[in-house]
């Protein structure tokens, strides 16, 4: 298991897409975030595979800055395999976005628990 931690700079009232290269073949086990500003229930943070949501973090209203928000894994796409060696572009990056309903910009810290036991030393096409 790998623990991937990074930060994203968010701007008020602006939806933004971020793409982060995946380090190896694997799948997301959990996704959680903490924002440096207060968040509300309409300010979702989503981890995508392409345009399919893999996990969504939904704050409660008036959630204090610095509170960890645990994502809920999608029933359909929660087991999606990422692979940096894939020829399919969306397999090679974590796509994370925030909505334009974001009330306050700031720094979003992201923690992804990434199960690399799906990694193989052979070509993915042979796995």
């Amino acid at each position: 298991m790998q623990n991937l931690i990074f930060t994203l700079e968010l701007t008020t009232a602006t939806a933004a897409d971020f793409y982060i290269p995946v380090p190896c073949r694997g799948k997301v086990v959990s996704f959680r975030v903490a924002h440096s500003a207060e968040t509300d229930a309409d300010e979702l943070f989503t981890l995508f595979y392409g345009t399919d949501a893999v996990s969504v973090c939904t704050p409660t209203d008036a959630l204090a800055a610095g509170t960890v928000i645990d994502g809920v894994m999608d029933a359909t796409y929660g087991e999606t395999i990422y692979d940096p060696d894939s020829a399919t572009v969306i397999n090679t990056v974590f796509h994370i976005d925030n909505l334009d309903t974001l009330d306050a910009g700031g720094v979003l810290a992201v923690f992804i628990e990434f199960d690399d036991s799906a990694a193989t030393t052979q070509d993915a096409s042979e796995a």
Partner: protein, 130 residues
């Protein structure tokens, strides 16, 4: 064992903007991989440095690199094995400096960098004794 170091920086597009990543232990930069939410324009570069010495350079290819598509760096022939060390008395050895050039982006963008960091260069004795 390879460590994964991530950094995401919002760039204005003007170029020459740097992010400094403190190294966690003695090691070398094995690979860098980038992804951006804006197009990376052909011939634009992102360079990983130790001090003023380029250890790895990613260059957007002809035809550009689309938003959300990864771009791999190429290790420098001469300096790819430069050792970084958090315990070094030389400031430049303690951080990986990552810088874009003025032609990389046509405007603002959020650039993510994944550094594959080879810690097998780490030693338990003092670096000065290595």
């Amino acid at each position: 064992m390879m460590m994964n170091l991530f950094a995401t920086v919002v760039l204005t597009g003007g170029g020459g903007e740097s992010v400094y990543i403190p190294v966690p232990c003695r090691g070398i930069v094995k690979e860098i991989t980038l992804a951006c939410n804006a197009t990376m324009v052909a011939s634009g570069t992102v360079v990983a440095y130790r001090g003023a010495t380029a250890v790895n350079t990613a260059t957007a290819p002809t035809g550009n690199t689309a938003a959300g598509t990864t771009l791999d760096g190429v290790p420098d022939t001469d300096y790819k094995d430069y050792i970084f060390d958090p315990d070094s008395t030389t400031v430049a050895n303690k951080v990986i400096k990552v810088t874009d050039d003025a032609t990389l982006l046509g405007g603002a963008g959020a650039l993510s960098v994944l550094v594959k960091y080879d810690e097998s260069a780490a030693v338990t004795q003092a670096a000065s004794e290595a």
